[in-house]
Amino acid sequence: MGLLSKKDSKLISDPLLDNNPITIQVLGICSALAITAQLKPSIVMAVSVLFVMGVGNVVISLMRNIIPSKIRIIAQLIVVATLVIIVDQVLKAFAYTLSKELSVFIGLIITNCIIMGRFEAFALANGPWRSFLDGIGNALGYGLILVVVGFFRELLGSGTLFGLKVMGDPVEKTGLFALGYENNGFMVLPPMALIVVGIIIWIQRSRNKALIED
């Protein structure tokens, strides 16, 4: 990255793998699991969080000197809630069916712990540009897990990606289904989201031994 100094690019690259908000920091899991049965809502969710975190981090960082520390939590909540209302209204206007599908989980971005966590840990102590990069980096790390989980759950659960038939047609038995492949309907159900994330954590920690807990 020519644009960014080494220190700045670390802000983006770190949360992607070694300090991933979901698998390492254990933050923001609530909304991450519920909407990953298909790839499309996962991506919409990732983009929404990207927007809220990027803008929110900049706003908080600009206001960090005027927010009294006693009421900082409610100040942060108001900033997040305002941004989430914008996202919600935009989704309702331009992608109504999708916003119905995501139902309350767009609203739950407000209580996404990653956002509060980054406000507390980073934006309150750093300048706007660095906070912006940090927000983008963490949101990308969050989005990465969402997309990976969504990809596997949709592919193995319904044989499609973005609603397109990738594995062939399950009814007319074309493609892989002709060879006797069956959709694993279990992948679409809620419990498998947990187990897929568990497996991602497993793979990640066996590759990087430093992350293993005792």
Binding site: I74, I78, S103, T111, K209
Partner: protein, 246 residues
């Protein structure tokens, strides 16, 4: 009475916040290492949910819903403030959590010290906001049912965190593969527990189907009555107009 019982069991087992909707997962995973702390947080969640859900129900009913402002005057009848619900709900929750913190600190310092860090944590627990948002999207009808929903979904959450804390205390003595230790195995156990809880799904389906058609027919009849009344009114107005013209 029946609908109260139904809602109670449904929110604890079938629509369990943790296992069916993954709400409040962050604190569920972070605070479930010991049974004693898990119980403390679970009790606090029940308490806060039981207060905030009915409170937000009132807000939703008298401020936020479309046409909810009619009590102010007929000119406010077509106001729709529902886009404000996120900010109102989160403000209520943050205020209530702060209030609970102050009250507990004043009257029971021992409990305050043992809960300490968890209390402010509750403000950003998705289970709390999720409770209010589900209350809104499922259109719960009365204040009593909203209170019931708050308490019972809190109990469901309490049950989940108690169970996982107990399992995690025992799992310390078993040979889990090293990379899976801690977070990974907790995820997978939660997944297995969620599979178990899915079997509660068939528990209450019988009642719903029987009750639904009755409501629909009454609504249609009411609409028909309304239409007939309107027609009669129009006729009388027309006849009056005719008379005056003559």
């Amino acid at each position: 009475m029946m609908e109260h019982i139904e809602l109670f069991f449904k929110s604890i087992f079938v629509d369990n916040m943790v296992f069916a909707y993954f709400l409040g997962m962050c604190s569920y995973l972070a605070v479930s290492k010991k049974v004693s702390t898990a119980v403390g947080l679970g009790a606090a969640v029940i308490f806060v949910l039981a207060i905030t859900v009915p409170l937000n129900w009132l807000l939703d009913q008298y401020l936020l819903q479309e046409g909810a402002l009619t009590w102010l005057g007929p000119e406010y009848a077509d106001y729709d403030l529902s886009f404000l619900s996120f900010i109102m709900f989160i403000a209520t929750i943050a205020t209530m959590v702060q209030l609970v913190e102050i009250v507990v600190e004043k009257f029971s310092p021992a409990l305050y010290n043992s809960l300490g860090i968890f209390l402010p944590l509750i403000a950003v627990n998705c289970a709390i906001l999720g409770g209010s948002l589900f209350m809104q999207s499922r259109e719960i009808e009365t204040l009593g049912l909203a209170f019931n929903y708050g308490i019972s979904s809190g109990i469901g959450w309490f049950l989940a965190i108690l169970a996982i804390a107990a399992i995690r205390e025992k799992i310390r003595y078993s040979a889990v593969p090293a990379p899976l230790r801690g977070l990974g195995i907790t995820f997978i156990i939660t997944g297995l527990m969620a599979i178990g809880f899915m079997s509660f799904g068939g528990m209450l389906t019988g009642g719903d189907e029987a009750a639904a058609p009755v409501e629909k027919t009454t609504q249609v009849e009411e609409v028909k009555k309304d239409v007939k009344q309107k027609e009669a009114e129009i006729k009388t107005v027309l006849s009056i107009a005719d008379n005056t013209n003559k």
